[in-house]
Each structure stands twice: as structure tokens, then as C-alpha cells.
Symmetry: C2
Subunit: 730 residues, 2 copies
């Protein structure tokens, strides 16, 4: 049933996972450091495991509830495909597994990277980066494997009474809804992990750095271990689940649009269009491994050299994927191969531009962050105002890039002559997302290695290693901040493109649900049209999904508001949790005599518990907002309202995400810039002001901001899954 | 040409202006206070006049440039009506005049209110509130007068070759574009005034309160006079121009939609539909005067009593307008009078709910602001995080109110049976905006009186009056903060409704421009339709203004981004200007010996100059963004892109505006709550943290936030004015 070349994908997936395991073993073979280092690493790992265990228990409970709903929907009301409840679990488990393996790797790697850095910078980089690669490759490998598994299963067992082309449309649209499991898992991981890590971080910084004047990661600070646990559960496990979701979402959306765009071509051609996205992703995975193997740096390398080393690996991978995807497309006999290849290229370039723009706004090397640092001289208020202003301005380039990229990808994929097919254009847009994420294996390695280096630094500090070691891990960490901004840029950029594709899929899925209505014809612009013959534009006209329809406009308002509500809820959650943490840290300093003199050990575990408890309690409501809003709007305002909702959430979520990530990044690096000696350096008033800015930025850049891309997609996918309800009952 | 009942409007306008003059004279007749008080008031007035003079010079230059463009557009390219350039000036002048008169009143009233407050609270309230009434009534009177003037002129001179009903459509759509002058003037006043006042305020607070520990409005602080000038140019002149714009925009939009909705009815009925909005506004103006005369309070009144006194006046006005508008509609013979009346009622209620929601989120009496105050105990970072979180959450109720209100107004105005006409629904939505603003005369009086009381307090402080006086003016001022939040809620709520109406007018204006194309037919959904016979839905289909069109979606992204860009630009401008001010104030304390000991007078004028210069320099770019973006998007993405742009700017601008106003209000009142004794009171660390929160909130609530409603409408109106360009050249 599946063509021979399909097997390339699962084989690649297994190979990629094998390489990930190989890197993991290499890392484990490194010496784990001194006794003290191992002890601290164990504290952190235990905290992280305890947190993840708790988190997964909550997630499982939610999954059980939702799958009951899905079972009802599919088996009782026949409003959804019967495979959906199972695949929902499978994607959720894979995404969770990616996060878990990432966290395991990161917590094992921290002390090893610190120990290696005590030998040389290059050794430290190698351990941290290879461990990051484990995370990146695991995500990519699992996503490709899960895709292959379900593609096979559905091709074997799905309803075979339909003609082949229609059957493939049903299969790809069913698979699209699988992404719901991945998105939901990712949302919990990002929001929960984000609340955990930032409550700990804010609590640790506010009391430790500002009030007590002790350095970051000082073992006297009771919240230090919780802070390091947070780096693992938020920045590694959360990011792993997040990018798993982005990666598989992009592939699934492109496959579904490929099936629709080539619905009237031959089955062979349609199959090629469906498998093209996953094929290119698999190629990108192999090329990522090549890129990872290239990254190397000399001893005494400056941070610029380090960045170049990483950049070099990414560039080689990206360049090769451009060449090879052209060859593949050329050989595939797909019509307008040049245009489709163009869409992939546009995606890669757009990702690069968004990453560079993030770097410009958040790196100490450029004017914006320096300007924020300067404003710290007039106190915390001007630092905050400056960072917010710059964060808002920083949305201009990414928005213009996405706008230009989307329109170009749309038009080149439509082809330069002949009949214009808007689904072909949307297929191009979704392929741009696939292109943007094709080398995720390596870009994520450069992203995940940041928190590992950060933890290595924490471990070095707490174990009392030589200052030189801390300097080396700091160099690695500073770099990690920049690469993290790039990773977030990719996540949100690809989310914009994927969400557009999902909106199109939503409108296309409406037709499927209309077939369940007990009508044969609908009246569109005065003409009766059989439901089977409806085009997407007919559906748009029938439901008046245009901007004069007040339901669409009101959906737009609600969607915009929801993005803000979601941010407000998660920021407030961090504020509340951090305030509890601050009280606890103050209490320990007050009540446990001798902490400051290193004569007593603070109660680390209590701080970990506070963060865990807060995260679990606070992550539920924002997640419910994402799940319930499309259902409620669908019931009250119908499909027109839902499309408006998705449009509003998408556009404002995108801009908010960029704003939050870059404001947070600018504050963080302005602080680091001052710590490196500018504006009076550490301990100056300017530094204190900058620390406050950084603290405000923490929930921006690590809780609310990076969750928005998941929110957008989760809302789209929930809409898709419940489309039957909106069509039937509204 | 005009019906007899039309004359009610200009007569009312003259009467309202006469009452305003009467109140002004009454205020002038009050004693102006001691010599010191008069001296300080003179400083402030001179500063404000100098600023306004400078501001109007810049505005005139911009107006000249734009009117040259309009002249070309109208007379050379025939893409716009030939009356537009003139009316553009007339509206701009009236709006500027409203601001100027308001500023004159406020600066004369401050010392008088302070002096009256030294006698009794009630006397202080009377002077401040009556002066606020001058501002409110001037705005309302001038708007009605300008409307009447142009309605007469156009009825006398506009192209009489058309059939009467079509002619009225052209006249009302032409008048709609007049609002451009008002909007542009308002944008400059809000942004420029906002930058001025907040640069001075932030500068004065940061050095005075935080660093030197001297109270607000202490004459030793060099930025004190500039701060008081700012209250006048930002909060009075800026607000005056802003609400002038909202008020006339709502009336004009409703008139245009009334003309379209009743295009196929008799000319008499159409005329009634056109004049209904302005008629109801005129009735509301008279009832506002009634309400103003009712407001009174006892000596020893608590702030709750004060709020009740003001609320009582507003309630009487609102209740009467409900009754009387029902009578008018009943007598008018307009079909579905009940539905249309319903839309007006919905608008009034929606305005009330939005106002109450603002009050809930920003008043010390409720949980959110108290929660922000509590978070000040853990330092400035948690205060900021808390305020931002609460600001974001606070958008939920206003959005749901606008959504429900819009949909209800739309459906009740469409009528409960028979043929559904979507323009009737939109007419209802625009009447809801008119209803919401119908009692603007009194709501604005309660709004404008806040800065007057604030200035009175400043004057009392600087003149060394008794502490009791300051307490009384503080009670008045605290109240002003709450009423100001209500006023901002009205401005943004009515903007959402008006902007929807403007979007509909835009689509309707497309048809007019299409008549200029050298085509007779266009193909819509495969059928050739003569341009003259196109319905709005045909236009929507022809230009594919639906959410599957990537141009619409990309417009949505750009619009959302522009709202953030605009905020970022104006917040950054405040940040930069405030930093300059901080340096200057610090310099004066350092270099002018004896300021702190009251032995030397600081150089007040220099601080005023710094704010003036900064405001003039910084207000241009945000304003250009508003003017140029619809033109550029229209050229590149056509009308589909422009509609997307407006939708994005509207939805995200609305939510951002609420977020900023309420976050800022919550910080301000959390600080006041602490100053009143909570969390350790004045001088505690919690207080210092709250002052930082308040400072961050200043540009939020007084610069960027209140400008957004103007931005939204200005973009809509510019789109309307240049619709010919988009249709012809894209």
C-alpha cells in the first residue's frame, strides 16, 4: 500500500535515534566529576525527576478525560475518525518521551560538561553540545517514527471503500488531528515547566542577588537547586516537547494540504506530494547529524568563534538540504517542482532572518540591548520601559518576514502560469514551515546545549571549582542565550506558517462534516451546490467567513483577547509562585542560622516542592483556555466565529510571542553586559536595576512567550477535532 | 434642502457652547488665590501655552503637507471628493480649539479650585467639576456645530445631478472623511501631550520621590512645573482632542451607514436615519447639562460619596436619554424603531459595563489593585509582573462586552423578522457607539475634572497651603483616577464600535472607486455583474476579503504588528525623554546649590523646554506610521490587505489599549493605596517598589494606551480617503 521510498523515513528515524543513543553513551562515558559535583548533580536530577513524575500524572489525568470525550465524539456521535483517540495518546507519549529523554540527558551532562570545561573550553563545548544533540536528534527521530507508524497503520486499516485519492485525504486529515496529543503535552510542558523554572529563578535572584548580594548559583541560596532543576524541566524538557510539536505539526499539515492540492492528480503523484514533507524532514535529520559532527572550536576561542562554530554546522546542514531537496524534487516528477522547491528555500531563509532579528534585538553586541543597559543608569523603571519598548519594536522584522515569506511561498507554489489553485499555494506555505524546521536536529542541539552549559556553570559554582571553569561555562551559557533566541524564533515562525495551513485544513474539514448533515445541497450565492462538489471558496462563501460578518470580527476580538488572557494567566502564575518562593527563601535565611556563613545547609528540597506545587496548580487554567475556547466559540458563533478566533489568536499570539521573547532576552543580556563591566559593573545601582529588568523578563521569555506558539496550534487543532460539533450544532 | 428638525442640532450646539462659556465665566469669577498661588498658576499656564503653540506649529506644517496631497488626490486624480481638503482643516481646527479651550480652562481653574478647597471640599469640587464641564461641553458643542455647518454646506452645494438618495450617500461618505482632520489632530495631541506629561512626571518622580525623598509637587523639584504643565497638555488638551474625535467619528460613521441602510427607502426616511445619530447626540448634550447641574456633595463627604455624586449626575443623564430617544424614535416612523432603540440602549449599557470593569481592575477598593500592592512587598520586579498580568487579564470583560454588544446591536437593528440586511445591522452597531457617547458632555466633565483637581493639589502644595487643603484635593484627585479610567474605557469601547462601522464604510466606498475604473462589469463567482449593482457581499467576494486569502491574513499580521510598533515607539519616546529629564533634574540638584534647603529656585523653564522638545521630536514617527501604513498596504496588497490591516489593528489595538490603561491604573492606585498606609505606608520598601510600578505605568496609561483608539480610527479613515488609490493602482 505504501510506496517503496516511504521506507526511507522509518529507517532514517531509527538511524537518527541510534545516533542519539550513541552520543548519549559517549556523554555518559565522560567522567562525572568530583564527589561534590556528583552530589549536586544528583540533587538536581532527583528534583527534575520528581517534578516530571508529578507533571506526567496530571497530564495523564487530563489525557484520560479528553480521550473519553474523543471516544464519545468518534464512536457515539460519529463526528470524528475512530483512530483519533489512540493516536492522540501516541503523539502525547512520544512528545513526553522526547522531553523526558532530554531532561535525563541534560541532568547527566551538567556535571560532566563542568568537569570537561575544567580541562578546556573545547572539551566543555563538546560535551554540552553533543548532549544538546541527543535532545535534538531524539525529538526528530521520535517524530519521524511516530509519523511512519501511523502512516503505515492507517494505510493498512483505514476505510478502503473510498477511491484512493479521497482515502489519502481522509488519512492525512485524520493524522493531522493526532498533533493534538503532541500540542497538549507541549503546552503542559512549556507552561508547567516555565512556571517552575521562573518561580525558582525569580525567587533565587530577588533574595540572593538583590537582597543578600551573593552571586548566582551560590550554594548558600536555598532556591539554587530549584533554579537548576527549572533549567532542566523548563528549558530542556519543555523545549523538547515544544519543538516536537512544531516539527510534527508542520509535517502533518503539509501532508494534509499536499493530499488536497493533488486530489485530482494521479494517485502516484498525490502520494509523492503527501510524503514530500516527511521525506525532506528525514533528509534534514541526516544532514543535521553531518552538521553536528562538524562543530568544533579551538582553545581560547572567543564567544564569537564559538558562535561561528555552531553557525558553521547549521550552515552546512542548511546548504546541503537546499541542494538535496532540489534533486529530490527534480527526480520526483511533481509539476512545478521549481516553485515547490522555492517555497522550501523561502522557509529556510525566513527562519534565518527571524533568527538574526532576534539576535540583533537581544545580543549585547548591538544597539538595542546596550540601550536598555544604558537606561539602567536611571533606575529600574526606565529599564523596564526601555525593554518593553524594544520588545514591541522587535516584532516589525519578524512580521514583515513572515508576511513576505508567506505571500512568496504561496505564489511560487501556485506556479508561474496556468490555473491558479489556492490549495497549491497553501501547500507551499506549509512546505515553507517544513523547510524552516528541516534542520531542527542541529538547530535544536545548539538550543538545548544552552541550559546544559548553564547547569554546568551552576554545578561548577556550587562545587567550588576554579573561577576559570565558571568563566568558560559562562562563555558557553552567554552563547546559549543567543541560540535560544534563535530557537524560539524558529518555533514561533514555523507556528505562524503551520497555523495558516491548519486554518486551511479546518475549512477543508468543514466539508467532511457537512456530509454528515442531512442535506444534499446548500445554497451558495443563490445557486444550489451539492455538498460533495463544494470548493473551499464555496464553503467560505456559504459560511460568510469574510470580514464584514460580525461573527468573524467578534471571533477576531476573542482570539486576540485569548492570547493576552493566556499570557496574563501564566505571568500572574509566575508572579504568585515567585512571591511564595521569595518568602520561603527569606524565611530560610532568617530561621536557619548560619546559612550565610556556610555553616548550615539550606533546605533545597522545600524550594523544589514549592515550585512543583505551584506549577501543577497554575498550569491547568491556561491550558483549559486553549482547549475550551474553540469549542465554546464554535457552539456560539459557528465556524465563521472559529475562523475569526484562530486568525486573532494567530496574529496577536505571534506578535506577543516575539515581543515577550525579545524583551526578555534584551533584559537578560543587558544585565550580562553590565555584569561584564559596563555602566559600573556588578554591584552598581545600574546592575541592581538591570537585575530587576531581567527578573521581569523571566516569565516573558521563558513562560508566556514560548507557550504562545503552542497555544495557537493547539487551538487550531482542537477546532479541527471538534469541527463536527461546530458544523452540526451551531 | 435640509428638514426643519435639522435646525435643532446647530441651535443645541450654540446653546451648549453658551452654557460652557457661562460655566467658564463663573469659574473666572472665583477668587484666584494668594499671590504665590497666582504666580505658580502663571508658570504653569505659560508653560502650557508655550507647549501648545509649538505643538500647533508642527501640526499646521503636517496639515499643510497632507492637504496638498488631498488637493492632488481630489482635483488632479479625481480619486476623492473636492470638499475633503477643506473639511479636513475645519475638523482639525475644531478639535484643536476644543483642546485649547480645555487647557485654558484647566490652567485658570487650578489655583481657583485649590483656593476654594481651602474653604470646603464641596466648594473645591464645584469649581473643579464645573471647569471640567467647560471642557466636556466645549467638545460636544464644537463637534455638533462643525457637523451642522458641513451638513448644510454640502446639502447646498454638493453635486445635485444625482438622485436624492444617492446624493445623501455621497454627502455622508464625504463627511466621514472629514474625521481625518479630527483624528490627526487628536493623535498629535495625545501622543505629543502624552510624551510631554510622562517625561516630566517620570523625571520628577524618579529623582524627587525615589532618590531625594521629597513629596510630589514639592517646589524644590525642578520638574514640578513641567509635571503640572503636562497634566494640562496631556490629560486635558489631549483628552479633549481625543474625545472630540471619538464623538464626531461615531456620529459621522452612523450617519453614513444610515444613508446606505435606507438607500432604497423614501428620501424622508433616509434623511431621518441620517440625522438620528446627531439628533440623539444633541439631546444627550442637553441632558448632560441637566446632569452637571445636579452634581453636588456635602461637606465631610467620603470619596465614595463624591463618586456617588458624580455617578448620580451621569445616571440621570443616561436614564433620560434612554427615555427621550425612545420617544424620538417612536415618533420618527422609522421601521424597526424598537430594534434601533435597542442598539442605542446596548451601547449605553456596554459603556457602563466597560467603565465598571475598568473601575474594578484599577480601584483600590477591589482585589486586583490590592494584589499588586501586596506584590510590592517582594520588590519592584513582582509589582511589575503583577501589574502586567492583571492588565492582560483585564481585557477579558471589555472584549466579551464589546463582542456581545456588537452582535446584539447588529441583530436587534436588523429587526426580528423579514429580510435580513447586514447594513441595517451595522447601522445598529454604529448607533450603539453613538449611544455610548451620547452623554459625553457629563462623562467628560467627570473625566477632565481629575487633572484639574490634580493641578489644584500641586498648586496647594507649592504655595504651602494648609495640609488639610492638600488632603481635600487629594480626595478629589483619587476620584479623578477612577473617572479617568471610565473615560478611557468609553473612548476605546466606542472606538471598537466606530471602527467596525468604518470598515463597513470602507467596503462600501470601494464601490464608489470602482466606478472610476474603466470597466462596466466585474466577474463575481463566475457571473458578470454591473458595477453599479454590486452589493457589499459582492464586493467582498470579488476582492476575496475572506480569511483564506493570504493577503487578508497578512494584512491582519501587519495590523497587529502596527499596534505594537506604535506602542513601542511611544513608550520608547517616553523612556528616552524621561531619561533626559532625570539627568537634567539630577544636574540641577547637583549644580544649583541650595535647592534642597529652599534657598535657591530651580530652573523650571528648562525642564518644560526639555519636555516640549522631546514631545515634538518624538510624536512624528508614530503618527507617520498611522498615516502611511494604509497607503502602503493598499498599494502592495490591495483592498483585501487593507481590510485585514484594519481588522488586525482594531482587535489588537483594542486589547492593548485596555491592557495598558488598566495595568497603569492598577499600579497608580496600588501606590496610592500604600501611601494611604497599607504595606508599611509612605517611605517603606514596598512604597518604593510601588512608585517604580507607577512610573512604568505612566507611559502605558497616559501615552501609548489612550492613543491607540485614535490610531485605529485614523488608520480606518486614511484607508477610506485613499480608497481610490488602492482600487486603482493595486
Amino acid at each position: 500500500m505504501v510506496p517503496w521510498y516511504f521506507w526511507f523515513v522509518p529507517l532514517t528515524a531509527l538511524f537518527v535515534l541510534y545516533v542519539a543513543m550513541y552520543f548519549f553513551k559517549m556523554m555518559k562515558a565522560e567522567p562525572a566529576g568530583t564527589k561534590r559535583m556528583i552530589e549536586i548533580a544528583t540533587y538536581v536530577r532527583r528534583g527534575a525527576l520528581a517534578y516530571l513524575k508529578q507533571q506526567y500524572l496530571v497530564v495523564i489525568a487530563v489525557f484520560v478525560l479528553i480521550s473519553l470525550f474523543l471516544v464519545l465524539l468518534a464512536y457515539k456521535f460519529h463526528l470524528q475518525n475512530r483512530w483519533v483517540p489512540f493516536a492522540f495518546w501516541s503523539a502525547g507519549i512520544c512528545s513526553g518521551l522526547a522531553g523526558f529523554i532530554g531532561m535525563q540527558t541534560a541532568t547527566q551532562a551538567a556535571s560532566r560538561a563542568a568537569f570537561a570545561a575544567s580541562k578546556s573550553l573545547n572539551a566543555g563545548l563538546r560535551v554540552a553540545f553533543r548532549s544538546g544533540a541527543v535532545v535534538g536528534l531524539t525529538v526528530v527521530g521520535l517524530a519521524l517514527l511516530d509519523y511512519s507508524f501511523w502512516f503505515l497503520i492507517l494505510n493498512l486499516f483505514a476505510d478502503s471503500s473510498l477511491p484512493q485519492n479521497d482515502r489519502m485525504i481522509v488519512i492525512t486529515e485524520t493524522m493531522l488531528t493526532f498533533a493534538m496529543g503532541a500540542s497538549l503535552q507541549a503546552l503542559f510542558a512549556r507552561v508547567g515547566g516555565g512556571i517552575f523554572t521562573k518561580a525558582a529563578d525569580v525567587g533565587a535572584d530577588l533574595v540572593g542577588k538583590v537582597e543578600k548580594g551573593i552571586p548566582e548559583d551560590d550554594p548558600r541560596n536555598p532556591a539554587t537547586i530549584a533554579d537548576n532543576v527549572g533549567d532542566n524541566v523548563g528549558d530542556v524538557a519543555g523545549m523538547g516537547a515544544d519543538l516536537y510539536e512544531s516539527y510534527s505539526g508542520a509535517i502533518l499539515a503539509a501532508a494534509a494540504l499536499g493530499a488536497s492540492a493533488f486530489a485530482r492528480s494521479s494517485s502516484i503523484l498525490q502520494m509523492k506530494a503527501i510524503l514530500m514533507p516527511v521525506f525532506i524532514s528525514a533528509l534534514g535529520a541526516i544532514l543535521s547529524i553531518v552538521g553536528i559532527l562538524i562543530v568544533k572550536t579551538k582553545e581560547n576561542a572567543s564567544s564569537r568563534d564559538l558562535l561561528c562554530a555552531l553557525g558553521c554546522g547549521i550552515k552546512v546542514s542548511s546548504f546541503c538540504i537546499l541542494l538535496i531537496s532540489w534533486v529530490v524534487l527534480y527526480l520526483s516528477d511533481i509539476p512545478n517542482a521549481l516553485g515547490i522547491w522555492g517555497a522550501i528555500v523561502i522557509g529556510l531563509i525566513a527562519g534565518e532572518i527571524i533568527g538574526k532579528a532576534s539576535e540583533y534585538y537581544t545580543s549585547q553586541a548591538y544597539a538595542p540591548t546596550r540601550c536598555v543597559a544604558e537606561q539602567s543608569q536611571t533606575g529600574p523603571a526606565t529599564v523596564i520601559i526601555g525593554g518593553i519598548g524594544i520588545g514591541m519594536l522587535s516584532s516589525v522584522v519578524p512580521v514583515l518576514t513572515i508576511v513576505t515569506g508567506t505571500l512568496l511561498a504561496f505564489f511560487v507554489a501556485q506556479g508561474f502560469s496556468g490555473d491558479k489553485n489556492s490549495i497549491m499555494g497553501l501547500y507551499g506555505v506549509s512546505l515553507a514551515a517544513v523547510g524552516m524546521l528541516s534542520t531542527l536536529g542541529i538547530t535544536m542541539a545548539t538550543d538545548a546545549y544552552g541550559p546544559i552549559a548553564d547547569n554546568a556553570g551552576g554545578n561548577a559554582e556550587m562545587s567550588g571549582l576554579d573561577e576559570e571553569v565558571r568563566k568558560r561555562t559562562d562563555a558557553l551559557d552567554a552563547l546559549g542565550n543567543t541560540t535560544a533566541a534563535t530557537g524560539k524564533g524558529l518555533a514561533i515562525g514555523s507556528a505562524a506558517l503551520t497555523a495558516l495551513a491548519l486554518m486551511a485544513s479546518y475549512i477543508s474539514a468543514i466539508k467532511g462534516s457537512m456530509l454528515n448533515l442531512e442535506k444534499e445541497f446548500v445554497i451558495v450565492n443563490g445557486n444550489p451546490i451539492p455538498i460533495e462538489a463544494l470548493t473551499l471558496v464555496d464553503i467560505v462563501n456559504y459560511y460568510q467567513i469574510h470580514l464584514l460578518n460580525p461573527k468573524v470580527l467578534m471571533g477576531l476580538f476573542i482570539g486576540t483577547m485569548l492570547a493576552f488572557l493566556f499570557c496574563g494567566l501564566s505571568i500572574n502564575a509566575v508572579g504568585r509562585a515567585a512571591a511564595t518562593m521569595v518568602e520561603e527563601v527569606r524565611r530560610q535565611f532568617r530561621e536557619i542560622a548560619g546559612i550565610m556563613e556556610n555553616k548550615a545547609i539550606p533546605d533545597y528540597a522545600r524550594c523544589v516542592k514549592i515550585s512543583t506545587f505551584a506549577a501543577q496548580k497554575e498550569m491547568l487554567i491556561p491550558s483549559l483556555v486553549a482547549i475550551l475556547s474553540p469549542i465554546i466559540v464554535g457552539l456560539l458563533l459557528g465556524v465563521a466565529g472559529v475562523v475569526g478566533l484562530l486568525g486573532g489568536a494567530l496574529s496577536s499570539g505571534f506578535v506577543l510571542a516575539i515581543f515577550m521573547a525579545n524583551a526578555g532576552g534584551a533584559w537578560d543580556n543587558a544585565k550580562k553586559y553590565i555584569e561584564a563591566g559596563a555602566m559600573g559593573g556588578k554591584g552598581s545601582d545600574a546592575h541592581k536595576a538591570a537585575v530587576i529588568g531581567d527578573t521581569v523578563g523571566d516569565p516573558f521569555k521563558d513562560t508566556a512567550g514560548p507557550s504562545l506558539n503552542i497555544l495557537i496550534k493547539l487551538m487550531s487543532i482542537v477546532s479541527l477535532v471538534v469541527v463536527g460539533i461546530s458544523v452540526t450544532f451551531s
